[in-house]
């Protein structure tokens, strides 16, 4: 095989057995890799109704056929499992260097089942695989865990691990790789913790075989020449100021910046937490994942007393969740809270969403100081930092926050104040002013995510073309297209940021021409465009089947009541709510699903899922 390494590793943590298995060629072709491979194995082998934190749950780490090659931004891998926060399927994506290393070590995917009797880590190197004791690492933060593992294995190895939050089964614990990169969402870190799996350490020196070096060179020349010319003419703000610099001014100007637990669409303090401010005050240097020409990572240092620290971040989603959502305009506090999340292994998005929910519960008198251990006021950056620590360690009120906003709000009798879809805290784009984004959240296979499709690209940024963000008619068709193409990007092993701008046809159909060229040059699979699009659709439908088998239905394709019934009170999207019901009807039709959101027999047959 080319591109793919043709091998998966099964790890039974209960028995300690490690078994290599060949990757079936047809499965690889039909499901591409990464996210596609993940859902293939989950549907075949996992119990969709099982408890996410039981030994039976399957945890999959999968890279794509392009991961680790020289294709631009081919740095990504996907972690797939049943998420403890949501009870739904989850797929969480991360970049850095670890995914490339996994591919170089010769594996397309790692499949974990069972539970180790004592903490262990998996060490992969020079064609060998072994489980080693991690008892000495239990309780250690992500940086110390990473450093200790590198010193006892190989300094050139790459580490993906959990911090104390994953060990303590915080329902939104992340898996951190290369110290600062997070596969963050739905509590996949808690799944690792429940298995007593502290880390995966990989050293890979093999080269990834490429089907046609000449064809790859041609595609590279074409894509990169265009990219470099464009970057010269109009420097990328993503490189200059990171995601926080790209998105913050835009959401504010469109009035879709979720603020004060989604009670407002604009934030008076927005300029204090934008990327331009970060660049000025705290940026040390930028960082890039493997093979990335953008370099959107922010290496930062804060010196303010009480918030001092060093690390990476914040990204836009972090600044939105830990900042605007909690009405905090103190970038030092937001950045410090981000560092602590990284160290403990926490998803910054769900963390911010949960604190904001708690602040509203407190503001409305539904929760008292006795419970919270002191006042929980909007805008209190010091309190935020304190709560993040307490959550990761499940101390005091942090133990309640560790369950996520849905369970917290429900416990205090007001589940409507949890701003979630399928119990996953929503990302930072208010769909009352970006209608398609609302449908995108409600139908994402993992719950409230902007990474399984991102309608804000066309509704807000103008990529590939601008469309009216307030119109809901016709959005369903676009959401379907974006979801299918994002499935392809995630499965191939590429980063969304580069792909949307450089590898998709620049019209609203967003055909993945560039990805097709890279895939064919590297794998030699000779996909047609139609086959590739079909693969994207197959993955999305396979994920839907997992959700349905797990007990979800169209009734779960929802948004919080606030977004469909409470009009935005101010800003350019004032007076608007999300027209979800109307869009959903269109969406099911576009997908060839029943009115109840079930893939029909003919659709499943067409996709080879029956």
């Amino acid at each position: 095989m080319y591109g793919w390494r043709g091998k998966i590793l099964r790890v039974d943590l209960t028995t300690g057995e490690l078994r290599e298995e060949n990757l079936d060629g047809k499965v690889a072709r039909d499901y591409i890799g990464g996210r596609g491979l993940g859902i293939y194995y989950l549907n075949r082998e996992a119990d969709p109704r099982g408890h996410p934190l039981s030994p039976e749950n399957m945890l999959i780490m999968a890279a794509g056929p392009l991961t680790g090659t020289s294709a631009p931004t081919a740095a990504r891998y996907m972690v797939m499992t049943k998420g403890p926060l949501t009870g739904a399927l989850t797929c969480s994506n991360s970049g850095g260097q670890f995914p490339k290393e996994l591919k170089r070590a010769g594996f397309d995917a790692l499949l974990f089942t069972g539970r180790a009797a004592k903490p262990v880590y998996l060490w992969i190197h020079e064609g060998r695989t072994e489980l080693r004791s991690a008892s000495h690492l239990w309780g250690k933060m992500v940086p110390e865990t990473t450093e200790t593992l590198l010193s006892e294995t190989d300094p050139k190895a790459r580490v993906a691990c959990i911090g104390p939050a994953g060990e303590k089964l915080v329902l939104f614990a992340a898996i951190m790789n290369d110290r600062y990169r997070a596969a963050g969402r739905s509590g996949i870190g808690a799944v690792m913790g429940s298995k007593n799996l502290k880390a995966v350490v990989v050293r890979g020196e093999g080269l990834i075989p490429v089907a046609s070096r000449d064809r790859l060179k041609d595609v590279q020349n074409r894509v990169m020449t265009k990219f470099n010319q464009a970057a010269k003419a109009q420097p990328s703000a993503l490189s200059q100021h990171g995601t926080i610099g790209v998105m913050t001014p835009l959401v504010q100007k469109y009035g879709v910046f979720p603020t004060k637990n989604w009670q407002q669409g604009t934030f008076a303090g927005w300029q204090a937490i934008t990327g331009q401010t970060l660049t000025e005050k705290y940026l040390k240097e930028t960082s890039a994942c493997w093979a990335c020409p953008i370099s959107c990572g922010r290496v930062t240092r804060v010196e303010e007393p009480g918030f001092a620290g060093e690390g990476e971040g914040p990204e836009y989603e972090t600044a939105f969740a830990l900042g605007a959502l909690c009405l905090i305009d103190n970038l030092a506090a937001v950045t410090k809270a981000n560092y602590i999340c990284n160290d403990l292994g926490l998803d910054t998005m769900s963390m911010g969403g949960t604190v904001a929910c708690a602040m509203e519960l407190f503001d409305r008198g539904y929760i008292t100081e006795e419970k919270t251990g002191g006042p929980l006021n909007w805008g209190d950056g010091r309190k935020l930092v304190e709560l993040v620590k307490m959550t990761g360690l499940r101390e005091g009120f942090g133990n309640e926050l560790a369950e996520g906003s849905y369970r917290l709000a429900e416990r205090y009798g007001h589940p409507e104040l949890a701003m979630v879809s399928k119990r996953l805290e929503l990302p930072g784009y208010d769909p009352r002013g970006l209608q398609g984004q609302g449908l995108n959240y409600a139908t994402s296979p993992i719950g409230g995510s902007h990474c399984r499709a991102h309608m804000a690209y066309c509704e807000m940024v103008g990529i590939p073309k601008a469309i009216d963000p307030h119109e809901w008619k016709g959005k369903a068709r676009l959401v379907k297209l974006w979801q299918d193409v994002f499935s392809i990007i995630d499965s191939a092993g590429l980063c969304i940021f580069f792909s949307v701008r450089n590898l998709l046809r620049p019209d609203l159909e967003i055909f993945p021409d560039g990805i097709l060229d890279y895939l064919n040059a590297i794998t030699g699979a000779e996909y047609t465009l139609e086959e590739l699009l079909k693969a994207g659709e197959r993955i999305l439908n396979a994920e839907r089947m997992f959700l349905l088998k797990a007990g979800f239905s169209h009734k779960d394709d929802t948004l919080p009541h606030r977004l469909t019934h409470e009009p935005l009170p101010e800003g350019p999207a004032k007076g608007r709510v999300v027209h979800l019901e109307e869009m959903l009807e269109e969406y099911y039709r576009e997908r060839g699903w029943s009115r109840e959101g079930m893939p029909t027999e003919p659709k499943l047959k067409e996709l080879g899922l029956k």
Binding site: A230, A231, A233, Q234, P235, S236, A237, L238, Q240, H241, G245, V246, P249, L250, K253, Y254, G255, Q276, I294, Y457, V461, G462, I463, A466, D468, P469, F497, F498, S499, V500, R501, N502, G571, P572, A573
Partner: protein, 77 residues
């Protein structure tokens, strides 16, 4: 009439005084097209234009006190 303009990131080089945010005097009933000409932003520069938070095009007419925000979609990657 007086309008408020913000040119995001590298577009600030087209600002008359180099500031990202500034006020600008335009003739009555001026359009976005006239504003772009006034700022000497060449047509080939890829841009998105918002007037009071709503997407605008070259023929959009401006009014006293309008907030104009211009950014580059190149931002996204």
């Amino acid at each position: 009439m007086m309008i408020n303009v913000q040119l995001l990131n590298f577009l600030a080089k087209y600002s008359p005084a180099g500031e990202e945010t500034f006020k600008l005097q335009l003739g009555p009933e001026a359009t976005i097209e006239q504003l772009l000409a006034e700022l000497k932003i060449p047509p080939h520069v890829e841009k998105m234009i918002l007037v009071n938070g709503r997407q605008a095009n070259p023929s959009t007419r401006l009014a006293e006190g309008d907030e104009v925000f211009i950014f580059s979609p190149a931002a996204g990657g």
